[in-house]
Amino acid sequence: MSKKVDTSVNLNGLILKNPIMTASGTFGFGKEYEDFMDISKLGAVVVKGLTLKPKKGNKTPRIAETPSGILNSIGLENPGVEHFIKEELSYLKRKGMTVIANIAGNTIEEYCEMARILNDTECDAIEMNISCPNVKKGGVAFGTDKDVVYKITSEVKNNLDKPLIVKLSPNVTDIKEIAKSVEKGGADCLSLINTLIGMAVDIKTRRPILKNNIGGLSGPAIKPVALRMVWQVSNTVNIPIIGMGGITSIEDVIEFLLVGANAVAIGTGNFINPAINSELVDKLEEYLIDNNISNVNELVGKIEPY
């Protein structure tokens, strides 16, 4: 490639060298993929969802396959925020990477405490998951009520100097309303979508496939819902958007940019092709060159609706 193209994006102050990120919970803490690619090529790594204390998660089976999708009920298994800071963060930062810590809590105060703890670290931004459908006392209520969403966003923001990304649940009647509350609450960026709530059944045993009965649906199956929500939200708010849901190809990436995502995250796609993230970084550059686009931002929101 001789011609130079600009793939960098600015998420309200958080600058990424390219818009290709990993989706939380699908990329571990990065190391797991090092046999397959140079992870420092990626725009950013969003790490597995962290809680204040270590968590064992749900019982297995935690994964079920569905038509062009998967259900997961991991239940936020993670080593806790302190362990992350000590053991994982510095490793990734030493590689010069942009690292985004994804956090989940049971109370607003827990979210705030994690924000304070992470504020004093090298991590580049925080993605607040208010939508994880798996933890019974947690996510659901936070992510689906616009007033609670406003409150939690503004309080966490008060405890944080770093950029705050809020990740939205698609399991709501009106995603625009929630997005507006997040923006009003002072978030720097939005990230959507998290998983749709679903279920899979084993007719031989007459039991759910997941031990948790229900789980979060991700993968290509949900891409149409994700594209619709990103499009609606990008027409509603003025803060940048990280789009995700079912991305498995460069065409999918372009679709998300066109409907208004400033960056994209790949989740389930990593399981099908563990080198996908770095391949997409290359393919995005090729796409821009082939289509005579000098700056990736020229694509953002460029869909022409009827």
């Binding site: 919970g25 699908t26 990329f27 571990g28 797991e32 993929y33 046999d35 397959f36 597995k48 064992k56 998660g57 019982k59 297995t60 089976p61 935690r62 994964i63 079920a64 396959e65 038509p67 062009s68 999708g69 998967i70 997961n72 991991i74 298994e77 496939i209 993968g219 290509p220 498995t248 389930t268 990593n270 399981f271 099908i272 092709n273 563990p274 080198a275």
Partner: protein
């Protein structure tokens, strides 16, 4: 080191009923593989079925750069796999998992397999035989397979079928238990259905013999990133895909 490799199918043939044998040409994965490890195979290049399928390595053939697998057609993915033709390519990720610990010499070893769980025992027997006295115990429902190959790689192969069509009529764990009581096994390896593994775990405990079991779990990534396959081992969360699939039987809970 783990690889994504496009492997050409060298052979894909039915062995008996719903059990197939496939040879995959490999230049990278084959070199780093060992007994008890597995592959994650994409059965076609579509988004349906979406996930890769975990399949154990049956044999590592370094002379011809071949990875051999045995698989049973149980659902969509394995059915599609059974229709793949010689010369076609499959995307394979591997080698995955810890594999069996085979760093033993001069022991009386019992290797126990049931059903499709017999597949990985071939490479296992290969790596233990001649350094140890290897006794193999195989349980089938009705039609046995892989017996000849395992005969070449062990001191003795004992077989049972539930139907009684071949060998001892009943469960292979009954044969194993009898032998343990009479003879003298120092170490066990087992792979097979959960019910069989439970029974072997109990036997190992009762007679105070160390035993490695190979487990199955539904997987997302196969490489330790999604935490889809986490189980509690000795009070700690372990991933079947990287910390396993092989665990010491006394450390895992097989009752759930």
């Amino acid at each position: 080191m783990k690889y994504i490799e496009n492997c050409t199918v060298n052979k894909n043939e039915k062995i008996i009923d719903d059990i197939y044998r496939m040879e995959l040409k490999s230049n990278k994965i084959v070199k780093d593989s060992k007994a008890g490890q597995f592959l994650e195979i994409k059965v076609n290049n579509l988004n349906y079925p979406l996930l890769r399928r975990p399949i154990s390595i049956n044999e590592i053939n370094l002379d011809e750069n071949l990875l051999v697998i045995y698989y049973k057609t149980v659902g969509k993915g394995t059915k599609i796999l059974s229709q793949v033709k010689k010369g076609e390519k499959l995307s394979v990720v591997g080698p995955l998992g810890n594999g069996f610990d085979t760093s033993y010499e001069g022991l009386n070893i019992g290797i126990v397999g049931g059903g499709i769980g017999i597949a990985p025992l071939v490479e296992l027997a290969k790596s233990l035989y001649q350094k140890n006295n290897v006794n193999i115990y195989l349980g089938f429902n009705d039609k046995p397979y892989l017996i000849n190959r395992l005969n070449e790689l062990s001191n003795i192969v004992k077989v049972s079928t539930v139907s009684g069509s071949y060998g001892y009529k009943g469960f292979i764990t009954e044969v194993l238990e009898k032998d343990i009581k009479e003879g003298n096994l120092d170490l066990l390896y087992a792979c097979g259905p959960k019910g069989m593994l439970k029974k072997i775990k109990d036997i190992a405990k009762e007679f105070n013999i160390r035993c490695q079991v190979s487990l199955e779990e539904r997987m997302g990534c196969g490489i330790g990133a999604c935490l889809g396959c986490s189980i509690e081992v000795n009070g700690q969360m372990k991933k079947v895909c990287v910390d396993g699939p092989v665990f010491w039987s006394n450390e895992v809970n097989l009752d759930e």
